[in-house]
Amino acid sequence: MPPGPLGQVLLDCAAKGTSGLLRVTGEPGGVIDLADGGITAISTPGAPDPEAILLRSGRVQEAGWSAAFAAAASDGRMGSELVRRELIGAGELEALLRLALADALFALAAGQVDDCQLEQSAADSLLPLQPAAEPGWLLAEAARRIQVLAALPNPIAHDRDRVASVQGAWTPRVGPGDGRAEILALANGRRSARDIAFVLGRGVYAVTLQLARMCDGGLLVIGSSRAAAARPPGPDPASARASADDAASRGGDDASRGGDDAARPPLPRRRRGSTGQGQGGSRSPAARSPAATEPGSTQPRSTQPRSAQPRSAQPGSAQPGSRQPGSRQPAQRQPEKISVLRILRPGSAANRDPGKQTP
C-alpha cells in the first residue's frame, strides 16, 4: 500500500532527520512531534493520548498523576517521575507510548489529510517516546490496521458510526471481564468507536475491532453516523430566520398570534418560588423527550400518558411531560413564601401584620 501524503512527508522527514512539529490539518488532524526524523508523540482528537489512556483506564490514579505532574511536568520529566514513583514500570510505559503512537497515526492516516506544515518549534509533549519510533514502522502498522478494518465483513467507521446495544444483548455469555459489558453499557447510539475508546482509555483500533465483532454477534447495531465534517451551507442567520418563519407558519395557534407575541422573547423564565425540588414548574427535561434521543438510543422514554400531563400556562416554560410524579400542578400551587427582604423591609405588609400573610 503506497504511503499517502502524510506518509510521504513523514518518510521525507525521516530521511532528512528533521526535528520539529508537523501540523496535520484535516479530519481529525493533529500534531506530530519529530526528533531527528523519528516520531516521539502525536496529539490528535482522533485517538486517546497516553495521559487519557493511563487515567481513563485506571492504570494510574488521578492523585498519583497529579503529584507526578506537579513535581516533574514543568521540566519535561513526567515519564521518569511516573516510573520513579512506581506508578508504572519503565517497560510498560514505553510499550504503552509506542502503542498510543501507533493508534494515533492510524487515526490520522485513516482520516482526511488536507495539509501538512512543518514548524521548527521545540516539541513539548508531556510523555514523549524515547527513543523515537521509526515512521516507516508506524506507517506500515497504520496501513495494516486500515486494511484489516476494511476487510471486515461488516466494516465500522471508527470515527463516524455510532453504535447502540441491542435489546436483550446482556446474556450470561456477556459478563464482566471480557470488555463487552463496558461497551454495551456505553453503546447508547451516541458514541462511535473513537468516543468509547476515550471513555475507556483504550486504543481506537482495538475498540473498533471489538465493536465490529459485537455487531456481527448481534449485540450491537449501528444506530447513526456522524455527518460530514464540513459545515452545511445553512442555516446561516438569515436562512435560520426564514426557517423559523416557516416553522411559525406551520405552527397553527402559535403562528396565528403574530404581532407582539411573535416578537416577544420565547425563552422560559424562572419564577419566584419555582426553584428547588418539587416546586411548580418551569423545568423541562427535554433530553427525556423523544427528540433528544438518537435513533437507536437505549434511553428509556417516558411512559406517562399524555392525558395525565398537566399543561403550563407560562409560554415556553414547563413541559407537560417533564413533571415528576407527585409534583405540584399550577392550580395546586402553594402560597408563595414571603422573601426575607420583604419581611425585613420597614413598613412592609409582613412587618406590619404578620398574621395577615396572604398567598
Binding site: 442555516p235 435560520a240 423564565r269 427528540a291 433528544a292 416554560s317
Partner: protein, 137 residues
C-alpha cells in the same frame, strides 16, 4: 420535521470531534433544548447559567475584554458555555480529546444561528412539544 434548534446543536456535535452533549438554556438556567445522554439537562442548564454569569463578571473585573466562553477543564473533558444573545446560553460538553480550536471556530457560527432562531421562535412552542412533533414526523 426535526426541531431547528436541536438540528443546529446536533450539527455542531457532528462537526467537532469530541463533543458529547450540548444544551440550550435561558440565562435563568431553564432548559430550552437538550441533546444529552447521561447528564441531567436541568442541572446542567442551571449550573451553566451560574458559571456564565460568574465568568462574565470576572471578565469585566479583570478588564480582559468581552467574554468569549466560560470553560471548565477537568481531567476527563471540558464544559464550555457560550452566551446566545442576551437571553440564552449554549452548553457544550466534550471529552478530553476535544478539538478545541475547531470548537472555537464552529461554536461561534452555531451561536449566531441559534440566536437567529430564538429571535423569531414562536413563543408557545416548547421543547417537549417539538420533541413529540419530531418523533411523530
Amino acid at each position: 420535521m426535526e426541531d431547528a434548534l436541536l438540528a443546529e446543536m446536533r450539527a455542531l456535535r457532528d462537526r467537532v470531534i469530541g463533543i458529547t452533549d450540548t444544551a440550550l438554556a435561558s440565562r435563568d438556567g431553564l432548559i430550552i433544548r437538550a441533546d444529552t445522554a447521561d447528564i441531567h439537562p436541568d442541572t446542567l442548564a442551571a449550573l451553566a447559567a451560574a458559571s456564565l454569569g460568574l465568568a462574565q463578571r470576572m471578565a469585566v473585573e479583570v478588564g480582559k475584554g468581552t467574554l468569549r466562553a466560560a470553560v471548565t477543564r477537568s481531567s476527563g473533558g471540558y464544559v464550555a458555555v457560550y452566551a446566545v444573545g442576551s437571553g440564552a446560553l449554549l452548553v457544550v460538553v466534550a471529552d478530553v480529546g476535544l478539538d478545541s480550536v475547531r470548537l472555537d471556530r464552529e461554536a461561534r457560527a452555531t451561536v449566531e444561528s441559534l440566536e437567529a432562531l430564538l429571535a423569531r421562535k414562536p413563543s408557545g412552542r416548547t421543547g417537549t412539544q417539538a420533541g413529540r412533533q419530531a418523533a411523530a414526523g
